[in-house]
């Protein structure tokens, strides 16, 4: 690895790859090299990369990407491999780590790379986001995955123009990959939750689908988009997606949580909101420790009163 460490990067999403490059550049300073295995069919417009690998292969299986990355590793001998934490990336990265005998940790939110020794330390999200683990790796290569937004470098970080060395990689995928026999696009929701100023986030305290009318009356007054906890989507099928650990993450001006207990796996989806308010009839619910202001009340009794008071006082969202 020498004293000029290299960080190798891959994500199938160009935007995420760009984020990882930014974070790598910042960690390395001007000294080290950033190498990128480019996503298929994407013109490499990422500046500040020293080495770019492209591939002609149309195989987008995790096995293929793991093989390509392994080939890129043997060419660049990186101290660190950074992979985007998507469902695909989370298959590729541990495979790679196992194959090249590297250390591995998922959900990095920060890392350091010592210039002289190449020693890596990483801060990773643990217990669904309730805790942080600080790992000090033993000497040797390390693979980390990072989710979108987890490693963001400052926007004004200098990104020196580099002349990237380009080369094309091919890799043998051994015959044990499954055979793809069909693909269907997934239904995605029209809701653009990430852009909402207010999110009205409901949980199992809302008992019946008809009750959504009541929730919508609150949403209308607050200019909010409806969102939900996992059970309302996966068990009851009221919405195509949910907020949380395995769902979407939002950071609006206001999240109003209604009939949500406040399980950490859900809270990680809303905890970057500027203001969190909650309505729950169980005063011992965990949500009250997660909110700026909480109301202990039956939602069916309270929301109509809230609607009436907002109207009576002529209140409206600050952004309108």
């Amino acid at each position: 690895m020498g004293d000029k460490p290299t960080i190798l990067i891959w994500s199938e999403h160009p935007a995420l790859a760009r984020e990882l490059v930014g974070a790598a550049r910042q960690a390395l300073g001007p000294g080290g090299d950033v190498a990128l295995l480019a996503p298929t069919g994407v013109a490499v417009d990422i500046r500040s990369v020293d080495v770019v690998f492209t591939t002609e292969s149309a195989d987008e299986s995790p096995e293929a990407w793991a093989a390509l990355l392994a080939a890129a590793v043997s060419q660049t001998e990186p101290a660190l491999v950074l992979v985007g934490a998507t469902k695909l990336g989370l298959q590729v990265a541990p495979r790679l780590a196992e194959r090249i005998g590297a250390g591995y940790a998922a959900w990095a939110t920060g890392f350091t790379l010592e210039a002289g020794t190449g020693a890596v330390a990483a801060r990773c999200s643990l217990y669904s986001g309730g805790a942080l683990a600080y790992h000090q790796f033993k000497p040797g290569r390390v693979v980390l995955t990072a989710a979108p937004g987890a490693l963001t470098a400052p926007a004004d970080a200098p990104s020196p123009e580099r002349i990237a060395r380009q080369s094309t990689l091919t890799a043998e995928v051994d015959g044990i990959a499954p055979t793809v026999i069909g693909v269907r696009p997934k239904a995605t929701s029209a809701a653009r939750l990430e852009e909402a100023h207010a999110v009205i986030d409901i949980g199992q305290g809302v008992k019946a689908e008809e009750d959504l009318a009541l929730i919508e009356s609150v949403a209308a007054l607050l200019d909010g988009q409806l969102a939900c906890t996992r059970p309302l989507s996966s068990d009851r099928d009221w919405f195509p997606e949910w907020l949380g650990l395995s769902g979407k993450k939002v950071a609006p001006e206001l999240s109003l949580l209604i009939g949500v207990s406040g399980a950490i796996q859900h809270i990680v989806g809303v905890r970057d909101s500027r203001v969190i308010a909650a309505v729950n009839n169980d005063e011992n619910a965990a949500i009250f420790a997660q909110a700026d202001v909480g109301v202990v009340a039956d939602l069916y009794a309270f929301l109509p009163v809230l609607v009436e008071r907002i109207k009576a006082r002529g209140m409206r969202p600050a952004w309108q």
Binding site: E98, V183, V293
Partner: protein, 265 residues
């Protein structure tokens, strides 16, 4: 046909508290149990067993005292539990865990299908399936929402980020189960009574698996891990009482102060 389901004895992370003053994690007393994700794994395995008439064993890494925690899993239809007595108390890094699981699977060979969760409830690091696939050199059918035996192999419906994908693979193979894809069945009293007669065999890593603790430890890639809790910084104002109108007004005032609402111009 022989099926093995991998089950993690995991912490209920919703019960982990953080000391607001020191950021210290309070994990003492947090219940450990067969994870919710892994209950889905067992359900998928039992359905496959029912469809094929295969034998079904569970491999779990847990303290020997956890024996009784597998009653439910046995009641669901598993034939036998192999409990690898965890010498690392749940603290080993995934690379080591995978080696233990690999050794146990090899000892149970021939194993045609290995099922595991896409992640574990507490670690949630998505590692076991892909790493085992590498070590066992078997195809991995990841994020499965549907599993059908077909032509001596398996057909699996995968839930990927942007698409649903159908894949096939010959046996032996590995399958990882997608989130909430196989809601566990409710067991009955008769199921529980039958489960009482099924074995939970405790295996030692040295005695039964022929591994050495020292070798395993030297394969660790992480030298040191320090944990801290994420402290919530919210105002935590709680409004309670009988007068809903007054509470609504207080909430509105609070939102106005926070700059979320504004009065009529």
């Amino acid at each position: 046909m022989n099926i093995v389901a991998l089950v993690k004895y995991s912490r209920d992370v919703t019960e982990i508290k953080v000391d607001p003053a020191t950021s210290e994690l309070r994990t003492a007393g947090v219940p450990e149990r067969v994870g919710l994700i892994d209950k889905n794994v067992v359900e998928a395995a039992v359905r496959l067993k029912e469809a094929t008439g295969a034998g079904l064993k569970v491999i779990a890494l847990a303290p020997a005292t956890a024996r009784d925690s597998f009653k439910d899993v046995l009641a669901m239809g598993v034939d036998e539990v192999v409990l690898i007595e965890d010498p690392f108390d749940g603290e080993a890094e995934a690379g080591i865990v995978v080696r233990l699981l690999e050794a146990a699977i090899r000892k149970l060979d021939p194993v045609d299908v290995v099922l595991c969760g896409f992640a574990s409830d507490d670690g949630y690091s998505f590692q076991v399936g892909p790493r085992l696939a590498e070590r066992l050199r078997r195809p991995l059918l990841a994020y499965a929402r549907g599993i059908t035996p077909e032509g001596g192999g398996l057909r699996v419906e995968q839930n990927l980020d942007d698409r649903m994908q159908t894949v096939t693979a010959p046996l032996p193979a590995l399958v990882s189960i997608d989130e909430e894809a196989f809601p566990p069945r409710r067991t009955t009293l008769m199921d529980a009574l039958k489960a009482k007669k099924k074995p939970v065999n405790v295996w030692g890593i040295e005695t039964e698996l022929g591994l050495s603790r020292a070798d395993l430890e030297s394969s660790a890639r992480i030298a040191d891990t320090r944990l801290t809790g994420v402290v919530v910084r919210r105002q935590q104002r709680v409004l309670k009482g009988q007068d809903l109108g007054a509470m609504a007004d207080e909430l509105i005032d609070a939102l106005e102060q926070a700059g979320v609402l504004k009065g009529a111009a």
